[in-house]
Assembly symmetry: D2
Amino acid sequence: MSLTLEDRAASPVTTGRTGYRHASLTVRGKDRPGIVAAVGSVLGEHGANIVSLDQYSDDPQGGAFFQRTVFGLDHLGSALPAVGEDLRRRLDQDFELEFTLRDLSVPKRVAIFASKSDHCLLDLLWRHRRGQLPVTVAMVISNHPDAAEEVRSFGIPFFHVPSSGPDKSAAEAEHLRLLEGNVDFVVLARYMQILSADLIGRLGVPIINIHHSFLPAFVGAGPYAKAKERGVKLVGATAHYVTEHLDEGPIIEQDVVRVSHADTAAELQRRGADVERAVLTRAVQWHAEDRVIRHGNHTIVFA
Amino acid sequence: MSLTLEDRAASPVTTGRTGYRHASLTVRGKDRPGIVAAVGSVLGEHGANIVSLDQYSDDPQGGAFFQRTVFGLDHLGSALPAVGEDLRRRLDQDFELEFTLRDLSVPKRVAIFASKSDHCLLDLLWRHRRGQLPVTVAMVISNHPDAAEEVRSFGIPFFHVPSSGPDKSAAEAEHLRLLEGNVDFVVLARYMQILSADLIGRLGVPIINIHHSFLPAFVGAGPYAKAKERGVKLVGATAHYVTEHLDEGPIIEQDVVRVSHADTAAELQRRGADVERAVLTRAVQWHAEDRVIRHGNHTIVFA
Amino acid sequence: MSLTLEDRAASPVTTGRTGYRHASLTVRGKDRPGIVAAVGSVLGEHGANIVSLDQYSDDPQGGAFFQRTVFGLDHLGSALPAVGEDLRRRLDQDFELEFTLRDLSVPKRVAIFASKSDHCLLDLLWRHRRGQLPVTVAMVISNHPDAAEEVRSFGIPFFHVPSSGPDKSAAEAEHLRLLEGNVDFVVLARYMQILSADLIGRLGVPIINIHHSFLPAFVGAGPYAKAKERGVKLVGATAHYVTEHLDEGPIIEQDVVRVSHADTAAELQRRGADVERAVLTRAVQWHAEDRVIRHGNHTIVFA
Amino acid sequence: MSLTLEDRAASPVTTGRTGYRHASLTVRGKDRPGIVAAVGSVLGEHGANIVSLDQYSDDPQGGAFFQRTVFGLDHLGSALPAVGEDLRRRLDQDFELEFTLRDLSVPKRVAIFASKSDHCLLDLLWRHRRGQLPVTVAMVISNHPDAAEEVRSFGIPFFHVPSSGPDKSAAEAEHLRLLEGNVDFVVLARYMQILSADLIGRLGVPIINIHHSFLPAFVGAGPYAKAKERGVKLVGATAHYVTEHLDEGPIIEQDVVRVSHADTAAELQRRGADVERAVLTRAVQWHAEDRVIRHGNHTIVFA
């Protein structure tokens, strides 16, 4: 069993009233009777008020169990460690489960990677400024300097880390130096460089990528040209977690838009860009709210 | 607190293996801490295996609480009364809640009302024959005799109950005689007569209607002509529970389809018909699986 | 230049009023200035009333040109050959174009192939009976006998042609015998056998297939199992013309439906079936109304 | 017959190669045989290369006729007046038609009105900066000063025209002074003030509004609160031309997004905002490209 307890300084913005905040609890492991009652009674003993609860079992007879609970609690910040301790004791004793407990008033810290195309990057920054994305954007990293001024106008640090040629070790060392200890996850917002397996491993935080096609159709580069070539009637986008296997990681969200013979490859790209930003935004929001649970190469999404 | 315990003879088809079946429990009432633990522990004491659990509270601070749980249990048929008894005792004692407990292997019995347009009727019968609708179609009632042969070819009783003129009391008396005690809900599948408030009250079972517009746009008759007249770019359909207030009952499901200036009113109607049957089918399926909870003039849908 | 003039006995049903019917003219070839005026003036000289006109050029500077015109004409049946003759003379003289001229009041004749899954077959027959598909269903051919009674209840001939094992030559000889001269196109409505290149060539009519995935994702067999395995969030269907390259022919229409982690492979299949029948119906209708023009491995669809 | 010939200084950006540009011709009036040939032959005589042609007749027997043609021409700027002259002569002589001829390389000039909500405004400015909206944004006018800095960072003039209280005559006088002669159309991008019939009449240019509901459902103010109250399962947006009858003008485009019981009115508003900006963008683009023809209280959209 693992316990991830995050309780950094709370943002006053997302706290409803003094001392009353919400936490999320995600539980995953082997399905067995009694889990709901066990979790419910621990939360009940602490006076927690369950706001929402979603649960899924991929096979009621010995399958895998997934649960997301959001609850409120007086003096959440100081009370959460004891809740975690009791959950650990109870779930360790009777079940084979992992759980994550997190104070939702503390936004996750994210770094956004971008290249020349900035529609996904700007949509994220824009929604963030409107208070629609519950994250702290710690920094933007790009292999092109173009977006520096725009990003900084949002009050967000911008770092230009050039990355050309086959040897990316210098760039990745710089990435690691900037990111280590500073972010809870990374978003590749149309970042056109491939991260090495080494960097992915050393970062040790979830990485979300937006792929500009309806995966697994049109893996790899140039999907809109391929889509035009194949004469498809819909183009799509896919947000997925990054693994060392390119375009193969667990899918978080997908969507499509209708196109026709009259759309050129450039127009497919423009229509696709709207889908890309919408899909990536949903994936980032769901991840930030602990709505996505990874399981093998799949995701459980309690949207 | 009310207890609705339905346990008619189980359909062998929907029972996974001998003695092991699923039940649904829906709970609604005033939100208070501890409900989840209370429900979970009663189910746990009976050895129930919770398969899925959905929960919603419209205001964590003293709002209304809604929960749908599906669980498996050995010898469900004989065990369910005791589960109901314990739930009643526990929920009565500590909370202000209503609940419904139902053996899901016992399909709800439905009567389908139709008039001349039979696309919704036939789609329901067709899906039912394929095993996609977990209901027993007890009968079809129509104010036109046209569909008799087709309906009976599905092995389903058809009753022609003429209903013209302002005085519908004779027809409604006949409806009551046919339906009373025989059905758990009624579906108006493009039935073009208005049911009187008296009939609705005396039937005492939920009635689902399909309205051929995206309510509240185009209430009343002739919505496709009105949609053409208004030059809308989408036409829709709405499935809702019937109340004595025409076209005003709680909405269960809605959808739309894109149309253009080039579509005539007749073409709007044809495109709309596809949406109508899809929307009605979803509403009937969700109702049959206890996924819809009425609350005031709204619905909570755990789809 | 080729001329395809079809003028079989007109169906009185689709003729608006005596002697007044509609024809479609599709033109394709090298784009050059003056085509619209040339076609327009030939039609004008014959007193034709153009009802709709769609046009597309994939590159205004020397690209390919596509046009679909629908026009009305008094005494269309007897007047059409002269229109065709004049078009041929005019378009031959000044342009490099092919055209097809067809009396729309004469429905195309179609054979539908099916296997055990009958949702696509029945949706086509059902819409046809309602007058929504402007085709004559000449026959249904299946490698399973199951649907015989149902198909014949629509008044349509059913032929059971078994086709198992690697050698399909006997079955295909029977197919050819049944189809030759009797149909204008063929629809594979979830027919689970592969047609040989030889049969495709000898049939010499367009063949429309419905593939149960969003091509090019999940080519080949078992796409819903593959979709579940990959954890996609949408499943789709693709209607395409059949070529000797399996799953590679020109795409006519595609659509998708949203699914979630909670859907089993069987539920993906059930949701997918609704998309399959909708997509196939649109493709068949558009083909029947001469709205689809093949160009290389693509289609131009004037929907 | 009316002739609108616009030929201001061409933007070099949208001109394919020196001297070769595109024009749009929209024709509307009483349908009669021969129109296509007449238009085609005038264009042909001038050596025009027709790039696309769309046509619609609301009744082939004496209905209304609508056509949009896009054509290329060497030295378009100097050649267009003669084309217009010949069209006028020809269409005047034989038909009852109005037409508009416009050099597409000259972007229409637009003024955008906004209030506090800036999601629609910013989406338009953003797409414009990316070269995706073929317009010249002449100015932004708002009754709030908040967006001044942001708008000016796009290099676009911003004018703050306060407009509170029942008497809007001072504000509207200012509007008129700013707009007269400077714009070809106006976009109300969530402008929360009602324009008087007098202002609409004196402006004399098309005005496009975005209404935050699927009209005619939820006309007037507060549609998201009303949608929540009614328990709808979809919320939508409508772009329409403004007439003196509030929320009653010809609809250009509509779309919807799925919502659930779990969405608060604030969340409906946030989801709806995404639909609003998408719908408004499409409407503005179509209007800018002469794809929308008004007819009575409807629109013909050749999208």
